[in-house]
Each structure stands twice: as structure tokens, then as C-alpha cells.
């Protein structure tokens, strides 16, 4: 079946088995690669970053890696799922990062008041959130609300393959030895993901098209990155 249209998946990963499998999965290599990639694109970040928000932080593995890469920054991770957040808090405590990393439960779209309370950030980062949202405009409005002038925004997500044959090939290539629940998550996420042109249309609608650019990366990702004016 061709995937001209996306197949949405549920917003939250809240089945305990699903959340635990996701939290325990070995994402060390791709998550570290994501943070390394962010620093290559924006080399001045470690020096100038004081406040970071990680949207859709899940079990806070990327959040913790951001804390490692940005030694002068405090980081707020937000997620709508209490099960994921509990796993994230365990991780942050185990890594001794509680003085610099806080996790908060928040559902997007959040109210203006809730966003204002978080304040503004020098880096707004997000991994694998966009394709979970009912309305993608929510993410871009949140980026706008939370980015300080001159902040870096960096959104990383899957991109939707051309057809289900390609989905099968990607699941086989990257998740072959994972538990069935994770393989199914990966398959559903690929089918729910956006494509470059779709994200560009979202950026246009959000007035961010001059600031952020979308680039397809590797065999299954896209990155949206730039400086918010």
C-alpha cells in the first residue's frame, strides 16, 4: 500500500508494557547521534546555552544526553504521559542530574499561561514528538512561544516512507531483534510520520519558514533546525 496519506497513531505511549519497553530499549547510539548532530549544526550551543526545553521528553534519555553536552544549561523536559515521566525521573535521579534537569507533566497544546510560566529558552529541542500530535501546528506554536529571540529550535522525527514495502524493510533493518511491541511501535510511527513537503507547509503556516529548514536525513529521519528570529 502506498502511504500518500499518513496513518495517525495514538498521542500517548501509556501502556505500561509499551512505555517500559521503550524506556529499556537501547537507543544509546541513535540518541547520542542526535545530540552530536545538534552540536555539529550549532557549534556555539555549549558556550551560550543556559535554558533548554525538551518537548515530548518521554523517558528522558535524550534529555539526559542534552544535559551532558550542555554543561552550563538547566533543562526542562515536558511530556503528557505520567508513566513515561516516572521512568524519566528514575533515570535523571540515577544519573545524579536532579539539580539541572526537571521533568514536568504537560499536554500540548498548553495554555498561554502554562507556557508563560515555563519562560523562554535558548534551545527548544524535540525528538519523535511531531508525529504523535493530533495537530502538528501545536508543536510549531509551542516552539514560537518558548523560544527566546535567537534561540535554536531543533526538531527531529521520522519521515514517512513511500509505501508499506519500505516500512517493512526499515523495520527489518533497524528493529529486527527488538521485542514485538517495539517493532509495532516503530512501524506505526513510520506510517504516522510526516514528509518534508508536509513539514514545510506547517512551517509556512506557522510563520517559521524563513527561520527553520527541513532536511531529510539518512534512510528514515528528517530534521528541522534553525534559529528563531
Amino acid at each position: 500500500m502506498t502511504l500518500d496519506q499518513r496513518v495517525p497513531e495514538p498521542e500517548l505511549m501509556e501502556e505500561p508494557e509499551q512505555a517500559r519497553a521503550y524506556s529499556d530499549a537501547d537507543f544509546a547510539a541513535p540518541h547520542q547521534a542526535l545530540v552530536d548532530d545538534l552540536l555539529r549544526r550549532h557549534p556555539s550551543l555549549p558556550e551560550r546555552t543556559r535554558r533548554v526545553v525538551d518537548l515530548g521528553c518521554g523517558p528522558a534519555d535524550v534529555t539526559a544526553r542534552l544535559a551532558g553536552a550542555l554543561p552550563d544549561a538547566t533543562i526542562v523536559g515536558i511530556d503528557a504521559g505520567p508513566v513515561m515521566l516516572a521512568l524519566g525521573r528514575e533515570r535523571i535521579a540515577a544519573l545524579g542530574l536532579t539539580d539541572r534537569v526537571a521533568l514536568a507533566e504537560m499536554h500540548l497544546p498548553a495554555t498561554d499561561a502554562a507556557l508563560a510560566e515555563l519562560g523562554r529558552f535558548d534551545l527548544v529541542a524535540s525528538n519523535s514528538l511531531l508525529h504523535h500530535l493530533d495537530d502538528p501546528a501545536t508543536l510549531w506554536a509551542t516552539v514560537r512561544a518558548l523560544a527566546a529571540p535567537g534561540a535554536v529550535a531543533h526538531v527531529f522525527d521520522l519521515r514517512r516512507p513511500t509505501d508499506d514495502n519500505t516500512v517493512d524493510a526499515l523495520v527489518e533493518r533497524h528493529a529486527r531483534d527488538e521485542p514485538a511491541v517495539l517493532r509495532e511501535d516503530f512501524r506505526a510511527s513510520l506510517r504516522a510520520a510526516y514528509r518534508v513537503a508536509e513539514v514545510e507547509a506547517q512551517l509556512s503556516a506557522a510563520g517559521l519558514v524563513a527561520d527553520l529548514r527541513v532536511e531529510p536525513v539518512g534512510d528514515r529521519h528528517l530534521v528541522v533546525t534553525g534559529v528563531v528570529s
Binding site: 514528509r195 518534508v196 529548514r213 531529510p216 528528517l222
Partner: protein, 166 residues
């Protein structure tokens, strides 16, 4: 942007002798500016690719129009306007010893790519058919030659810096 990539041919196909010179001049302009006037020619967005010559070891730069596949990945066509031989840039790019990665310069950026080379097969044919829907002259180019015209998907493998280009 990628929603409508249809272009009607409104120019004469250049001769095979003219192509290298046109390319050389275009590269020189592209290296100087980010302007649409230079990066968008005949309604088509362009890329520059830097390859290393598989025999000479020299740096070669080429400017090519690209088309985006349904996922949004840039695709360039090794058509050489239907010439019987592959263009030199493709022969170099295909040589993974000389070019494990190539540098790709786009209008607002630069990246390293390990290109997806489609010389034949189901995926090639499916993409070529979609390409021809938007840019009919590539069907004509295919008719002029016995070789199957390859497609190259230029997906980013890692970020690069402008200083890598020189």
C-alpha cells in the same frame, strides 16, 4: 514547494559538447550567491555535488537540477541529455572507493551524503515514472540511449560546513 514540481520544457536541449561548459559557468555563479536567480533555473531548483575523480584524484564540482521524490529526498538524474554514456560525475560518484561520501551544496546549506544510487529495478522504475510525470523530457532522454538512465537520491548522512567545500 515540493507539492508542484511540474516543469514544461521551454528550452532547446543543449548538445553534449555544450553541457560541460554550461555546468562550469553555473557552478561559478552558484558559489557566489544564495540568490534564487542563480539557484532556480528554468523553474528547477539546483544542487552542486563535489566528487573526487576516481583516476585523477582531482576535485570535480557539478551543478544539476533536482526533483524531490515523494518523501522529499532530492533526486538527480544521470541523463547527460540521453547520451550513450554515463556522465563523468556519475561514474565518479558511483565509485565508492574514491567517493565514500560526496559533498552536496544546496541553496541554504551543505551536507555530506552517501547517495542512494538506483541504476535499475523496481524502485528506479517507480521513481523514474513519477519524475517523468513532472518533467516529461526525461522520457525522451531515456528513448535516446540504450543504457538505463540512473537516478541518485541525495540524502544527508551528516552535516557539513561551508569550509569543507574548498
Amino acid at each position: 514547494m515540493a507539492t508542484d514540481q511540474k516543469v514544461e520544457q521551454a528550452w532547446d536541449t543543449p548538445s553534449h559538447d555544450e553541457i560541460p561548459n554550461i555546468t562550469k559557468m553555473h557552478v561559478e555563479y552558484l558559489e557566489q550567491t544564495d540568490d534564487d536567480a542563480v539557484w532556480v533555473q528554468a523553474g528547477m531548483h539546483h544542487v552542486m555535488i563535489r566528487t573526487i575523480g576516481r583516476k585523477s584524484g582531482n576535485v570535480h564540482k557539478i551543478a544539476l537540477p533536482f526533483w524531490r521524490d515523494p518523501e522529499g529526498v532530492r533526486v538527480v538524474v544521470a541523463s547527460f541529455a540521453g547520451h550513450e554514456k554515463h556522465p563523468a560525475w556519475f561514474v565518479n560518484l558511483r565509485d565508492r572507493d574514491a567517493n565514500p561520501e560526496v559533498l552536496v551544496r544546496v541553496q541554504d546549506g551543505i551536507f555530506w551524503s552517501t547517495p542512494d544510487i538506483l541504476e535499475e529495478g523496481e524502485e528506479h522504475d517507480r521513481l523514474y515514472a513519477l519524475l517523468v510525470e513532472d518533467r516529461a523530457w526525461y522520457a525522451d532522454y531515456q528513448k535516446r540511449t540504450d543504457r538505463t538512465i540512473p537516478l541518485v537520491r541525495l540524502v544527508e548522512s551528516r552535516p557539513a560546513e561551508l569550509s569543507d567545500w574548498e
